[in-house]
Each structure stands twice: as structure tokens, then as C-alpha cells.
Symmetry: C2
Subunit: 198 residues, 2 copies
């Protein structure tokens, strides 16, 4: 089966429609998706950025929010700007990796909805406890695992692998053959490429 | 008739496939395109950049060239990297504005082909003289007009208008209703939007 790695950052706006839509697009083609949460913070810091480029470059930021409005309207997704933007995504990424691989997509989608559809804070443990409980997980146990070395190491490894693969933004997609695609607008092309590589 | 303004920068890689394809895409929909050459240099300088972000951020630059290879292959366009990159695009932009509006698309496409398909220098007047002559223009006369105040002022006005419209990269597209789209991958969406606004 063709496989595509989906690299997403919970603070990233364009990762939201990607996370909400990649499942159905991939299923339609018969492509398996590996959900790879990572952090852009260390990658941005390495190139001298202390916050999102959408904050550093206001014209780009204004465009991005309008573009997100258009995309979300076209995709049937609600959009409410989280405040502050970007949100601190460390807890969300660790909690994702504290869950079994099969549980990560649904949890990740629920976090994106909380953040970008409902405008809730994703650095607030209460946001995640509610989601975890709703999805049938043991929220306290997952929260403990999220603070332990195996999860922290797994997230660090994802960031290191993202950087090694040349990833500089989110969402990104990598094929087993090493092709990199960046942006929600490249998701379909990435899935097609993965299929052709098989 | 629906109208879309097409903002392009001769040094910009993604402006190349846009320039080569927008004519047929727009004609298919019955959208009129206004070709608006401008310069990104002053806009980049205003946000502290002295060269292309693809040079400032190497991971982004490596990705862009690979992405361009894929796009050009898919669109049936040749691709040869100009050296140096980015090219100085001032002469090309002024020469475009020295021509009648109706002659600008064909001249612009020829310049992009020289630059990105053949890897020729677009700061070299000889490159342009050959193109102008081939397209049936009076090359010496156009070259003189390109150095005169009306053309210089027209280019400055385009840059100022681009900035006022929130443009921060190329290619960009603006509708009469004020919608801004950025990137070759948004060209079809921009044309569709222009059509819906009519």
C-alpha cells in the first residue's frame, strides 16, 4: 500500500484543513497516512525567527487569514482565530504521541477543531482532558505519559527527522521515495505522488 | 467582462508558469487579464530582505527548485535555472511597460522563456533586443522609451499599487472587488473568483 507521511504542527493554520481533509482524500486513493506531529518552533528559531512568519511579516499574515477564510468556506470548515496566535503547541503534540498510533488522527482533528473552529486554547490541559475523555481515552494517564521521556524523545525525533527531510513549514508531506510537498494546496499532489511511487 | 489583474515579477520563479499559462486559462473562462509587471525588490527591502527569500532560507530555496521542476514537468515547460538567481529584472519590467498594452503578454512570455527555459540573462540588453526584434517591435525605440520618465513612473506606480493592495510576493492576482491571491497554485482560484464577481 502506498504510504504518505503527514507532517503537522498544531499551531499551524494551514495544517488545520489538511488534518481535517487528508483522511478522506487518502482513503479515496487507497493511500495510508502516517500522522507525524512536529514542532516548527525549533526550525523557525534555527533561521532566526522568534514567532510565526505571519506575525513577522504583517502583509503575509493578513493574506493568510483571508486565504484561510476562503479555504475553510470552500471546505465547509468553521474558522475562529485562536488568540494568541500562534498557540503554544507543545502539549498537544506530546499528547498525540502519548496515544496509540491508531488514535492519533481523531485526537489531532479534535484538537484542530477546538483551536481553529472554536477558538479554544490548546496550551490549556482542560481543553485536552475534555477531548480525551470524549474520545474514550484515560485522560489522566495520557497526561502523565505526555510528560515522560519516551513521548518527549519521540517528539524530538520527529522534529529532527522533519529538519533532516528539509521541512521548513507545515503542513508538509513526504513520500517513501523522499519527495517533499509543502502546504495544504499540495496535499492532493502529494497523495498522487505517493500512489505513483508504489 | 470579468477582469483579473496579474502581478508578476520577472525574477520570480513561480511567475514563470503563471505567465505561460494564464492566457489560456483566462480565455477558457472568458476573463480578461491585465498584465501588471512590478518589482519585489522594494517590497522585500521594506521588510528587511536584501535578496530572494529562497536564498535567505536555504531549505525553502531547495524545496522551491524541486517544486518548480515538478510544476514545469506537469505543465510541459522547460526549466533551466538562471545564474545568478534572482536575475535583475528592472530592464525587463521597464521594457514591458514601454510596449503597448496588447504587446505585453507575448513579450513577457518570451522574457520568461529566455530566463527560465533557456537560462539567459535578462539584465542583458541583447537578450531583449533579440526578443523585441523577433516579435516585430522596433527594439532601439523601445529601449529608449524604457529609459524615459513615463515608463519609469509607470513601473513605480505599479510597485506602489502592489504594495497598497497588500502584495508581498509573486505571482499575485487581484480582482476588481479587492480579493488578493498569491502563488501560481492560486491562479485558477483567482480566475474563478473574478468570474463570480462579475
Amino acid at each position: 500500500m502506498a504510504v504518505l507521511d503527514f507532517w503537522y504542527e498544531f499551531a499551524s493554520t494551514y495544517s488545520y484543513p489538511a488534518a481535517m481533509k487528508i483522511g478522506e482524500s487518502a482513503a479515496r486513493r487507497g493511500v495510508a497516512v502516517r500522522w507525524r506531529p512536529f514542532l516548527l518552533g525549533p526550525i523557525f528559531a534555527a533561521q532566526g525567527w522568534s514567532t510565526s512568519p505571519f506575525n513577522l511579516y504583517p502583509a503575509k499574515g493578513r493574506y493568510m487569514w483571508r486565504d484561510m477564510e476562503r479555504i475553510c468556506a470552500a471546505e465547509g470548515l468553521a474558522l475562529n482565530r485562536p488568540d494568541p496566535f500562534p498557540q503554544n503547541s507543545l502539549l498537544a503534540a506530546r499528547l498525540t504521541l502519548a496515544l496509540d498510533e491508531g488514535a492519533r488522527p481523531a485526537f489531532s482533528r479534535a484538537v484542530y477543531e477546538a483551536e481553529f473552529a472554536e477558538g479554544r486554547a490548546i496550551d490549556d490541559p482542560a481543553t485536552h482532558s475534555a477531548i480525551l475523555a470524549r474520545l474514550g481515552h484515560d485522560a489522566p494517564a495520557a497526561s502523565v505519559r505526555a510528560t515522560e521521556a519516551p513521548v518527549k524523545d519521540a517528539l524530538r525525533a520527529n522534529v529532527a527527522e522533519a529538519q533532516a527531510r528539509g521541512i521548513f513549514g507545515a503542513p508538509s508531506f513526504t513520500t517513501t521515495g523522499g519527495e517533499l510537498f509543502w502546504g495544504f494546496d499540495r496535499m492532493e499532489a502529494a497523495l498522487d505522488w505517493a500512489l505513483r511511487e508504489r
